[in-house]
Symmetry: C7
Subunit: 96 residues, 7 copies
């Protein structure tokens, strides 16, 4: 489905709204601390460039449901739908 | 039990409250200095990416009771329970 | 067509205006967040210098349509047309 | 005796008070400059992670009497006694 | 002609004035963005020191006409003529 | 004589006062610029940790008379005499 | 002649005054930009420490006439004459 290929260690993420999350069992707490957001990986880059010149494979794959920091990513609209492009670094964890 | 898999050198931590700590013998002092908090490792990532492209194994494992800096981690609620996702870097020591 | 050869991990980009983008299906959202811009790669450099002394091949090639951060690049006019010279680092993704 | 295992290049230090130091012959000067503090190593970590993935052995061992910068470490109480957890980087020298 | 040998990844550049550029077809735009300047390479250094101890050959050579960032370089007068000494890093592209 | 062993790339320095320096022929100028101080190396560390895990031998040895930046080092008193513990990085040159 | 041995990638420089420079043909321009100063290398260090543990040979040698940034170096007086100790990094070019 993805119409863009993220570069390097970037991923394309479709944000999942709070309503869906309640069903999935993960709810983000309501405190003063920075709160992660949730989304689904739609496309992944080729990986971060290593000193050796090769690239490290990403730890996330298309379809993964991920938690990421709230300040992560750049918004982009593709065919009228909003996505986020962010670095894998900004992803905290994958739901299992 | 863990429903999320932390990425890279991150761990999922269940915070242990002060009441439990008194029983365990470790009490945090009441001074102006930064005070570590205590918790239990619930899930660990695959390790930090090295220049060689491989990953360094974490020094903590599921079940470890750890002391970490008070500003460490991002809060996340899973099935109604609060956890912290933090980097191994923010863990000071493991209780033995 | 390109009359300049970018150095290292830099690329020469012809900016694509908003009118063209509507046709292509990618529209940038209208929020407070930083918004990427779109363009076409016109020339690429030899790649970033690695510690080994060799260079890493760029992930984009001439003709690629790319999304890049809005603050990316230095403007330059060649034969009356405006271009941007930017680092590959500032390119978020390639349209497919 | 140590009930905690410090991570990486961290050490657990029992602070030595000024009274003991007078006997030992080392007294810290009374000027405006930053003044080191003195303590005894109670536990050591496995060492700092190297790019190769191995760890560098620490230069201090349990029982060493060390001078460290006054702003070093995080305080922690174990069985009612106060300790400091600090990085080896913050240790200036070992008494012989 | 050059009476100085730049060190490391530095180059000696003779600035080309705006009048010459009009003839050459490259004109710098008149906007608020940072605008590159144009010049000719008069001398080059031996290259940047790599971790291996060898040096990376520069991507520009004597005679190249280059675009560089406007804040690049240190001015120096040799035999009454003004030059700029700058790092290759500050050169954006070479005219072909 | 040294009762402390500096760690890593640190050295123990006995400061030499201005009176001695006049005799030795090196006098520090009286301007607004930062002025180096002079001292004698009393003990040296094992060297800076390299990425390979080995240590680089220090360029100074016990007995060397050195010039160092005035803001260098942490003061420490041993048997009533004041010393400085500083990094080799802060030493500018050795007198010959 | 040099009575001090600079450490690592440092050099000892005897500053050359403006009167001498007029004769040599190099005059520094009178603008708002940072202006390099001129001097002669009197002594050189063993070179910068590389990750491999070896040292990179300096690109300048005793007797070289160099241009360096005006804020470079620490002043030191040896036998009543003023010198500068600076890092090779601060040297822009060598006169030929």
């Amino acid at each position: 489905m993805a119409k863009v290929r993220p570069l390097a260690d970037r991923v394309l993420v479709r944000r999942i709204e709070a309503e869906e999350k309640t069903a999935g069992g993960i709810v983000l707490p309501d405190t003063a601390k920075e709160k992660p957001k949730e989304g689904e990986i739609v496309a992944v880059g080729e990986g971060k460039l290593l000193d050796s010149g090769s690239r490290s494979e990403l730890q996330v794959k298309v379809g993964d449901r991920v938690l990421f920091t709230s300040y992560a990513g750049t918004e982009v609209k593709i065919d009228g739908e909003e996505f986020l492009i962010m670095r894998e670094e900004d992803i905290l964890a994958v739901r299992q």
